[in-house]
Amino acid sequence: MLCAATLGSPVCADLSQQFELSFQGQFFPSLSLDSNDIQEQFFAGVEAEFISDFESDYLIGTFLPYGRIASAGGDMNHVDIRELNLLYTQDKWEGIVGISRVFWGVTESGHLVDIINQTDQLEGFDGEDKLGQTMIRISRLFDQNTVDLYVLPGFREREFLLSDQPLALPFPVSNDKPLYGADNEAQHVDFALRLSGYQGMADYGLSWFSGTSRDPEFIIQPSGAYRPRYPLIHQVGLDLQLTLDSWLWKLEAIHRTFESDTITDDFTAVIGGTEYTIYGLAAALFDLGLLAEWHGDNREDHTTVPMQNDLFTGMRASFSDTQSSEFLAGIFSDLDDGSNSVRVEASRRILDDARITLEAQSFVNVDSRNALSYLKSSDFVLLSLQLFF
């Protein structure tokens, strides 16, 4: 065990605890004042983390609850157990039981291979936030490779923003119980298998998932409401990164097949690209990373799939100042219809234990048949403050 929690003291702490308080203001400058649309809203959240090794060399327990309150109240208030699990580690074996989060993949502008956790739609607009997933994971560790087997009971539905929320879906989502491809509905147990490792400059992962899709389809009800349906799917995924000096080459690819009586066709999707970093610019003041990633998807329906043939280009400046300032800017361009979305993000440490972040996104010239079109008027600016204890 690394006795990190108590630096300078000779003993390890049995329980390490830490807290993060966050405050966020969201501003939607392009929404009209005379409509019922929300122009601004505010959130306050708290995330706690409790970790204990029970003074053993092979057990680690983690509890990570999260909650937030929203100025809009009601459905925008939100509580989730991100993690509540027990991890067992041995020389060649590792096992976890409980609620946890798992990330797979290598690309920056999108995540295809990552599939274990449901996206937390109420949190953030970038899809990076995930709900905790109940799981049993058993891993066999080899020298440079790992094989993970996942058993995933307890499917979690996606939570949808209410229609008065900026960036909500452009149609009313039914409040009825969702439909499922599996006979035993949300009780269906999903499985996943992953091989990952590295060899020289290559880091790779091969994955397989079988079970209830985290992405819903929508069935239009006689009432006109859209009812979510979670079909049964099988998905194989590949992720690969080559690290060559200042160049990173990245690829993610998936092929998803659906069990019968679904409304969605089988499809293949790819994200591939590169990141090149120029180090020590302006007398070692900052490093500049240049990114380009192409998104491809063989589904024909442009109205529901935002990324069929899209290019992401961006830059990331990481400053070497004591505040670890960062600046990111990127643009998604639809190569078929010319729709664009532009995003910038800047953050820096303030005081000693706080971080301030500014994010802004704007949609430019979005074609009315593009899946992004409902977002057309929802340009946003987010200002966040995180305090750490």
């Binding site: 690394l2 006795c3 680690i60 180090y279 000693d352």
Partner: protein, 263 residues
Amino acid sequence: MKHTTAFLAFIAVLIPQTSHAETSDADARGLEIATQADERDRGWRFQSSDMEMILRNRAGKESRRKISTRQFEVEDDGDKTLSLFHEPRDVRGTAMLTFSHGLEPDDQWLYLPAIKRVKRISSRNRSGPFMGSEFAFEDLSSQELDKYQYRYLRDEACGRYQCYVIQRIPRYENSGYTRQIVWLDQEEFRSIKIEYYDRKNELLKTLDFSDYQEYPGGFWRADRMEMTNHQTGKSTTLLWFNYDFETPLKSGDFNKNALKRLL
């Protein structure tokens, strides 16, 4: 300046024989001293420690970082290192795994706890500052014998010790230095002082080691390192705690999975 350089080049052409002979003698002696120092610090197999970093700007304003590290010695290759960051608190839980390979680029992975993601990162940036400090990545990386070309300069008193003074020139790519001057005490071959010369061959930084402690197996570690940047007036102090050469670590503790379960 140009004239001086041309003049020196001219001198060098005139006296190639003698300078070459002296050079190879001094080189052999330099290598011999560096080899001694390297051999004295071999065989520890594994170690762990906690470190506090105090960054000071020109005005004396301080900021702190806390990191704990574990190292695993690899014979005939660079060491394996795991570093876990505790402070500043916004990067708490971030961890870095490095397999160093001497002259070849290191393999390096970064774990970002907020998104549970392990990223392979480029180790190209050897000369970049480590966490905004006056230490570059290359100053803190595994010091393998074949990473430098050595030359003995002189014997000299250094504080309460008598020192060998050697010059070392980085043989690996992308170093921020043309050369370093190292003071090693003649009794235990501990580093007492290092001067770093930048790419323009001007004195950039001085590193002073102090408060050496001896650990089981005869391994010496400085509890305090002071890096002063002469060009910017900034400085960084490293304070080391909890050196442990006895709690066993295995090679299997140093992999991508281990990054995610450090505490």
